[in-house]
Amino acid sequence: MSQYDVLFQPLKINQLTIRNRVVSTAHAEVYATDGGMTTDRYVKYYEEKAKGGCGLCICGGSSVVSIDSPQSWWSSVNLSTDRIIPHFQNLADAVHKHGGKIMIQITHMGRRSRWDGENWVNLMSPSGIREPVHRATCKTIEEEDIWRVIGDFAKAAVRAKEGGLDGVELSAVHQHMIDQFWSPRVNKRTDKWGGTFENRMRFGMEVLKAVREAVGREFAVGMRITGDEFHPDGLNHEDMKQIAAYYDATGLLDFFGVVGSGCDTHNTLANVIPNMSYPPEPFLHLAAGIKEVVKVPVIHAQNIKDPNQAKRILEAGYVDFVGMTRAHIADPHFIAKVKANQVDQIRQCVGANYCIDRQYMGLDVLCIQNAATSREYTGMPHIIEKTTGTKRKVVVVGGGPGGLEAARVAAERGHAVTLIERADELGGQVTIAARAPQRDQMAGITRWLAMEVERLGVEVRLGTTANADMIKDLKADVVILATGGRPFMEQNPHWGAAEGLSVSSWDVINGTVEPGKSVLIYDTICEFTGMSAADYLSSKGSLVELVTDDIKPGVGIGGTTFPTYYRSLYEKEVIMTSDMLLEKVYREGDKLVAVLENEYTGAQEERVVDQVVIENGTRPNEELYYELKDASRNKGQIDNETLFAGQAQPILSEPGEGMILWRLGDCVSQRNIHAAIYDALRLCKDL
């Protein structure tokens, strides 16, 4: 047996035998279409996890039980209608077919939602206190509403059961209605639904009793709770132990899921899905504390990503199940690879939080590095099959994420692949990104790709600058250019890049220029690079002002990531200035003067600094493309119709001599890692 034996001890939850100790915990997928139904994409996404061996999937984070808990913002699952039942049957069958189990989280979001859409509801909360993250104002919930919602919970649970799902998880976490009643921070009521411990517990207890009565003793019912809200006026760990023990004592619950931190502020929200700046399993101690006081199994997820970590946690007995949710978004075949002794082949989550940051914007959850995730229904493969057709010679230029993915997929298809990279190491822009403080784990994306490329026998030529003659000499059937971009410094000549008055964010992060004593960073993009440059320079002791013409620095970064940047930047006294354009840089003595102009008033200000750093995105490295374009069979063109449909490029089946030329990633236009990887996957999967 293997060193990971402890992961593979089945454990029962009520009548269910869960085949291993790894759970994909509830998260909002943003895939439930058609009014919150678990349609094809949803089913295939979970089927892939079950196929990959995941023990238990708890789907549908924040799936609503009532029509006054809006679902459309996040395309969450809607259990307020019987229409869901046949959809659940499809979902349950797909997961059960592969030996997995599937439950769903059910909730009423209370005040944690948006009212300005869908049914234009009055949001409800125990005491009508506004929720800041969603800017959600709400009414004070009335007795009639309370009993209606309790009834809705019971009906929803029955729908889950009738749909063949294996259980329900009541959400009493993330400040949904149940824990809104629990928390004295939000519940200021003086009637029987607030005040004393028992009164604050009453709503949750009535929900639990109603659900249990509706579904019977043998259906799994669990509850997800926080281990500590991390608010001085909220519930602390001791409170949560008391609450957990109180509910456990009823014998009506079959498991607890425990999450560290509340999340009704931007800063606490970032704790809930800890990004790469957090240590491994930062809140395990909270879950372990809950496990001490309850008799039923405890599930804990939060930054548990690799099998060794999972094994260590389980062997020490802190919790009974490890939640590895993002780990499964990055690689739904996680368990299968552990079992097949292919731990090195697991595409490991790096905590970039592209998934959850999209979710908070109401966009479908996607993985920054695995473009097949949630696209199973379109035919995007997690396991790339060898081609039975022509074996081709493929040359990829550029060893960033796009080029690496193209090389990996082409090699998996069985083609002879050569990868040419100008630098002495693989990674491209990811390597730069990973040099910034707290961002080192970004390198995991390209490290995995590089390992796969090596395993698959791709010929990698490092330190080699490709040119047209070299490419032609290689006589490739397919040439894929993923040559990336370079900092776009020349957009405004007055920035003085040509004269050396300003340097790029890359120069700074790469360490090719020394940090100045006082630095002005001008960031038009407002994503990671500008923030990372500020973080990097301030960590080297520079006095930094981060200026943008946009509405706030880092505005393009999602909800779980900008807070961790802010924590670091504020602590290092970085000044963040919005709404200012950089007009001009000029030298005065041994200092530089940066001329800023207010976007809205036109008023100009000057800053005297030692260094001006520009983050203005990239321009494509497209010279090689234009040199090769005319000589190629397809003139460099990609057929969008088949590309978007996830089908093979027609040129592959057309007879003809010479090379096919494609380009992808930032050498076409500046997008992101996911875009480059997705293009590489969909272009090469049918190669």
Partner: protein, 650 residues
């Protein structure tokens, strides 16, 4: 004429001496332990065993088989005629002519023996064996010439006394080698001991195309458990050792020998001969045990074998693959002897090397070799919804899961098999936590007490349920269930069920059209015959038929079928882990690489583990059932009406 009276004297003297030698040799064998053999029936059956069964083995080498037929046939015929013509003086031209013909036949054979000995392969023993062709030539030539007058071709007393003297020397030489040399320990001993060995063989089932590969049980009440001294062997085992012709066919196929581990089956048998007769190995004229110098081994009938005669590492190097037994033209049972001696080391001395003792303790405490929680035996199938015998009581097929249940790699094989069973709609069930280790490893490691205990407890469980067949993916469990459990059934014969290897069973399902298979997509495939499936149980065809059904044209390795080379994983060899110069699994992988295999299909989780232990890059290893399950075309169950229609059509 001096020859007229001396020749009969010489012949009769040699016959008398031979008889005396025979008695002396027999007394050495009789020092062994009693074993009841039907002597008369054995003797009656002997000629057929010699001429048919043994010839079958020898015939694999056409050159040697023809040579042996001519030489041995010529000699036996000549000897009979010599007795009639030259001892009893029957004056018949016919007889004389017949003798001339037989001696020509023998001479011709002897010429080929001589040629073989000009540049003999290393597996052949040298020493006295180099003299044998000359003795054969001398014998046949001398008697040919001596018989010419009797045939009326030459006058009496031709050639004068010089020739007479020369012929006399030739006759004396020939008779001493071929007649009394036979019983006094010369190379020709093989003929005499061999004939009796075949007559009194411990496994008469092996003759007439039969198979007998199960180990014999130990009487746990016996004074000594296993074999300590040569005289602890059964008398007919000792006789068997004496039958060895030192042809070294065993040496040539022994995987441990090839890997440079200190085992050479031929040398081992010769050491047993030294043991039974007393002496040293100084005159052994073959290859030594790798790494052990000749001349230091000393033994006698009542001396402990592992104290001076055979190093215990030699015994622990064996993988029990039976390649030696399969090749042995004298049908000697090397593996029986090795396990007998291991039994003493394990059960009397507690000297099972390396991980051996730990594994046996685990088996005793947890019923599985690696000491896993016995309650976790079904963890692998937590998501498979397998029917348990305890629940259903009755099923067509009992799926014997085996200890692969505890191993992550083997679990893939098990799951693949479950998928196939389900796809074919087989009515099956498993024993779950009621199953125990089959006892194979305990038995090969010499711990027959633990084996018997496991076997009896497994049998008690099997007896609780009704099923027609046991099917297992583990050839080791397959072997013991099929061939070794019978001795422990209350009825002494075995259970009322058939035991099948999964490849046999799946092949049957395919033949019956119960599985729909897509064609295999992939490169060159070779098949590695597991020893316990092939040589132990003769199943060479089903795996190949199945692979063919997948559209695979096998690239057969040179060592395949009954000549398959062991993966190194049998007999507890990976547990006792005796060092050599190479790893057996690496050599086996070389065999696979030599035929350009990209995938090695196997039918045994032990083989899978051993071959996958070879460092990459190397061919992919897959159990046949994994290939089948990958190629499975799963149909949604047809509506009932359609099924009825289908049945009516067929």
């Amino acid at each position: 004429m001096i020859l007229d009276w001396l020749l009969p004297v010489l012949i009769s003297a040699s016959l008398v001496l031979a008889l005396a030698g025979a008695f002396k040799r027999a007394s050495l064998w009789r020092a062994g332990q009693p074993e009841s053999v039907n002597l008369l029936a054995g003797l009656m059956a002997m000629p057929r065993r010699y001429l048919v069964d043994l010839h079958h083995v020898v015939e694999r080498d056409k050159y040697m088989s023809n040579t042996h037929v001519a030489t041995a046939g010529g000699f036996v015929l000549s000897m009979l005629l010599i007795i009639l013509v030259h001892l009893f003086g029957l004056e018949s031209r016919w007889l004389a002519w017949a003798l001339l013909a037989s001696s020509v036949l023998m001479f011709t054979g002897a010429v080929f023996v001589f040629r073989r000995r000009l540049n003999p392969p290393s597996r052949l023993s040298k020493g006295p064996w180099m003299r044998l062709p000359k003795s054969l030539l001398m014998f046949s030539a001398s008697f040919f010439i001596l018989t010419l007058p009797a045939a009326g071709i030459l006058p009496e007393a031709f050639g004068g006394w010089v020739l007479a003297l020369i012929l006399l020397v030739g006759v004396a030489w020939g008779l001493s080698e071929l007649v009394f040399g036979m019983t006094w320990g010369g190379p020709m001993k093989h003929a005499f001991a061999g004939a009796l060995h075949l007559a009194f063989h411990r496994r008469p089932e092996r003759f007439n195309g039969g198979r007998s590969t199960g180990l014999k049980p130990v009487d746990l009440q016996a004074r000594v458990l296993g074999v300590e001294k040569p005289t602890d062997f059964k008398w007919n085992q000792l006789l068997g050792f004496d039958a060895c012709v030192q042809c070294g066919k065993c040496e040539a196929v022994c995987p441990a020998y090839a890997a440079g581990q200190p085992l050479n089956p031929k040398k081992l048998i010769q050491d047993m001969v030294i043991g039974l007769a007393g002496g040293t190995d100084a005159k052994f004229a073959g290859s030594p045990y790798p790494g052990i110098e000749l001349g230091h081994a000393v033994g006698g009938p009542s001396q402990t074998i592992t104290e001076g005669l055979v190093n215990s590492d030699t015994l622990w190097s064996c993988t029990t693959c039976r390649a030696c037994v399969e090749e042995c033209p004298m049908m000697i049972e090397h593996v029986d002897a090795i396990v007998d001696m291991r039994r003493f080391l394990t059960m009397e001395k507690g000297n099972t090397p390396n991980k051996g003792a730990e594994v046996l303790e685990n088996l005793i405490a947890t019923d599985n070799p690696n000491g896993f929680d016995p309650g976790g035996r079904m963890n692998w199938a937590a998501d498979q919804n397998l029917p348990l015998m305890a629940d259903v009581k009755e099923a067509e097929v009992l799926f014997w899961v085996s200890d692969g249940a505890f191993d992550m790699r083997s679990q893939r094989i098990l799951r693949a098999f479950v998928k196939v069973l389900k796809a074919a709609g087989v009515d099956f069930a498993v024993l779950g936590d009621e199953e125990r280790d089959s006892g194979d490893v305990a038995r090969r490691l010499g711990d027959d007490a633990t084996f018997q205990s496991l076997a009896k407890r497994n049998i008690a469980v099997l007896n609780k349920y009704r099923f027609k067949r046991i099917v297992t993916t583990d050839p080791h469990a397959f072997h013991v269930l099929k061939n070794e459990y019978g001795d422990f059934y209350p009825n002494g014969k075995g259970g009322d069920y058939e035991v099948l290897h999964h490849t046999t069973f799946i092949n049957e399902l395919v033949q019956q059209g119960r599985l729909q298979l897509d064609a295999f997509k992939g490169g060159t495939v070779t098949y590695h015959d597991p020893c316990y499936l092939g040589r132990y149980n003769g199943e060479y065809d089903s795996p190949r038929d199945l692979l063919k059904a997948l559209g695979i044209e096998l690239a057969e390795m040179e060592r395949s079928g009954f000549r398959s080379r062991c993966c190194g994983g049998g007999g507890g060899a990976p547990i006792t882990d005796i060092p050599g110069e190479r790893r057996i699994a690496d050599m086996r992988m070389e065999d696979a690489r030599a035929v350009g295999a990209e995938l090695v299909a196997v039918g045994c989780q032990q083989c899978t583990a051993m071959l996958e232990g070879v460092v990459e890059p190397r061919p992919v290893i897959k159990d046949i059932v994994e290939l089948v399950s990958e190629a499975l075309i799963e149909r949604a169950p047809a509506p009932k009406a359609a099924r009825v229609a289908e049945e009516l059509m067929s």
